[in-house]
């Protein structure tokens, strides 16, 4: 107590607190909300810049094959469920984009139309980087197709939300996404073979900065689609560009596509 008083300005009371408001979560009708919060050791601008660079989305977001810009605010997404190899396309629009603070997009076509993704960024109050909050509200039309869309990599909507922000953090902080995909192992046996997917040995992780060309290295059934990831992301290029995002304090890279310009 005495020590605390020496180190900080001693507070005086009464002092106004706050009521906790839960972040969106759970199912309501056709909508399912999920959220995740991470502290990322990077500036809000760095987080925003990587999140909004569409050419890098396949590098860290699960199940993304490619994203193309149709017009300044319209994007076409091509996704693939690595489990089944099924690909599906939808369009999305940018609803709000405030560099370094907030980015909101909404799916406009296909059975998941209406799905929104909201990323909010704030500087950590005591200097640990950026507090990133990702809220996804999925529109679930029901049926098999939904399953393909919402359970990419056999993840639940809640889990894919968590994993995607985790991967963004991994790339920004560590420069790569940890993976054991393709490592050697002894004889797996039956249950081991099944669980290899669960444990990530042949479940495709987004490649991060590695030059694992996706989806060519998927199991046979899943490897039919065109491989764009390898072309998009030679590791040397990725490292160089990520490097420029992370270590040069530029707010936007004029040469690259960025969702907020």
């Amino acid at each position: 107590m005495a020590q605390a008083a020496e180190q900080f300005d001693a507070p005086s009371f009464p002092k106004q607190g706050a009521i906790w408001k839960p972040l969106p979560k759970g199912k309501q009708g056709k909508q399912q909300a999920a959220h995740t919060v991470q502290t990322i050791r990077a500036t809000p601008d760095q987080v925003f810049n990587l999140y909004t660079r569409i050419e890098f989305l396949p590098a860290w977001m699960e199940g993304v094959v490619s994203v193309q810009r149709l017009s300044p605010k319209k994007l076409r997404w091509l996704m693939q469920d690595p489990g089944t190899g099924k690909q599906f396309e939808f369009d999305a629009e940018e609803v709000e984009s405030v560099p370094g603070k907030r980015y909101v997009s909404r799916v406009t076509t296909g059975p998941t139309a209406g799905t929104t993704n909201t990323l909010t960024l704030e500087a950590h109050p005591s200097g640990r980087g950026t507090v990133a909050t990702l809220i996804n509200v999925f529109t679930l039309p029901g049926g098999l197709f939904t399953k393909a869309v919402t359970s990419v990599v056999s993840r639940s909507p809640a889990q894919i939300t968590i994993e995607n922000l985790r991967h963004l953090k991994e790339v920004l902080e560590a420069g790569e996404i940890p993976s054991v995909e393709g490592q050697p192992a002894g004889r797996r046996g039956i249950s081991g073979k099944l669980k290899q997917v669960l444990y990530g040995e042949n479940m495709p992780m987004p490649p991060g900065t590695s030059d694992r060309a996706r989806p060519d290295d998927l199991p046979e059934s899943a490897s039919k689609g065109p491989s764009k990831w390898g072309v998009l992301l030679g590791s040397a290029v990725a490292v160089a560009v990520l490097g420029s995002l992370l270590f040069v304090e530029t707010k936007s890279d004029p040469s690259g596509e960025s969702l907020h310009d």
Binding site: G175, S179, E201
Partner: protein
């Protein structure tokens, strides 16, 4: 290459598997020159750590020569001689930056499994089940090492492998155990377990200024090393007469040791009634860990003392005397070792000749001998105190203390 593979509880096999390759740009591939079997490997061997799968390559204590590096690696090059810490850390997250390397945020690809079990995930470990990332281990001829610029420590001198190999785990682990014990000069410290971790904890307790270190085990060869190399006063807990709590009270001027280190962990051997129930409970999977030593340590430590726990616990404990811990106001510190923090200073202590970690090696073996050695290590047969493996030697057991 040849590798030691876990093939179910109580079963390891040497199998020929594919060579590891670079997966991420920060990776290196190491040709392993020496590796060892750890007390922690026994928890896997005995089947107490969940999410092991047949075919998993074991081993987290190893060193070798860099064979290949990924495109982002700057500090290492082919031909460098390195010791690899068993915890895998990114070097740039909040935890790494605050020296909590074993709690790294960014190294475990299976963090979600760990989060389900523990709330949050620690760092990945080599060869230590899929909750800890599922990374193939180093009881093999080659191994892939992620974050190669962060973990491996280069050995620039021509000091023999076996003197620096234990920087990969047990020397830093014993040292952190002593650091966590919050020892002040003049203190009395008790160490349960005179396996490799316990032995390094005893030596390290003296490095932190302990006046007297008391060591507890039941194997004469281990107690002898504790006494004759590390300087401990030893107690054979099976020798009967007083209880351990009483013996420790008598040896600490009636107040109990200032600090106690549990270097035994979840598979403690026990003779008392509670231990008997633990065995049954553990067999029935009602509790995952047998906390015999933890209970004794809580009971024996002095009021306001510190309990340091390097011994591994994996799950739930039954009948823990938490009231005693509370009633005496004790502090507990524990966890996997924050390896990276200790590598450089402890390498220096070896190069300065303060300690020769190879003192505990009892067996040097070839890779085909490893399945038999796992059994010997588990049963503590053949006066075993530490086994090192030359993975490129086919067969042949050297007993170094015949």
């Amino acid at each position: 290459m040849k590798a030691v593979c876990w093939m179910g509880a109580g079963k390891v096999e040497i199998q020929t598997v594919e060579d590891p390759k670079i997966i991420n740009p920060g990776d290196a591939v190491i040709r392993v020159t020496r590796t060892a079997i750890c007390g922690s490997d026994l928890h896997l061997f005995d089947g107490y750590i969940p999410t092991m799968e047949s075919g998993d390559i074991l081993g987290h204590e190893f060193m070798g020569v860099v064979e290949e590096v990924g495109t982002a690696v700057k500090k290492l090059k082919r031909g460098d001689r390195v010791v690899i810490p068993f915890t895998i850390a990114c070097g740039s997250c909040f935890f790494c930056k605050t020296d909590l390397w074993s709690l790294c945020d960014n190294s475990n690809p299976n963090a979600r499994i760990c989060e389900t079990m523990y709330g949050y995930s620690g760092s990945a470990l080599f060869g230590y089940s899929h909750i800890y990332g599922g990374f193939a281990g180093g009881q093999a001829q080659y191994v892939r090492v992620p974050f190669a610029d962060v973990g491996p420590i280069k050995i620039e001198s021509d000091i023999p492998d076996e003197k620096v190999l234990f920087l990969s785990d047990i020397y830093p682990t014993g040292y952190q155990a002593a650091e966590n014990a919050q020892i002040k000069p003049g203190d009395t410290v008790a160490v349960f377990g005179c396996g490799p971790v316990g032995l390094f904890a005893i030596a390290s307790a003296y490095m932190f200024g302990a006046e007297k270190v008391i060591a507890i085990d039941r194997f004469p060869e281990r107690l002898k090393l504790a006494r004759e190399y590390c300087g401990a006063t030893t107690i054979d807990y099976t020798a009967g007469n007083p209880s351990i709590v009483e013996a420790l009270r008598d040896l600490s001027n009636g107040i109990g040791p200032d600090s106690i280190i549990d270097a035994v962990g979840m598979e403690a051997h026990g003779t008392d009634a509670a231990a008997f129930y633990d065995k049954i409970d553990q067999a029935l999977m009602l509790e995952t860990d047998r906390p015999t030593v933890l209970r004794q340590a809580i009971q024996a430590v002095r009021k306001g003392g510190t309990l340091s726990i390097p011994g591994v616990y994996g799950g739930d404990l039954d009948k823990l005397n938490f009231g005693a811990a509370f009633g005496k106001g004790i502090t507990m510190k524990m966890g996997q070792t924050n390896m990276h923090k200790y590598l450089a200073p402890l390498l220096k202590s070896i190069e300065d000749g303060k300690i020769d970690p190879s003192f505990m090696i009892s067996h040097r073996v070839g890779i085909e001998d490893v399945p038999d050695m796992y059994k010997i290590w588990r049963d503590k047969k053949d006066r075993v105190t530490k086994i090192v493996i030359d993975p490129f030697r086919e067969k042949g057991i050297d007993r170094l203390r015949a």
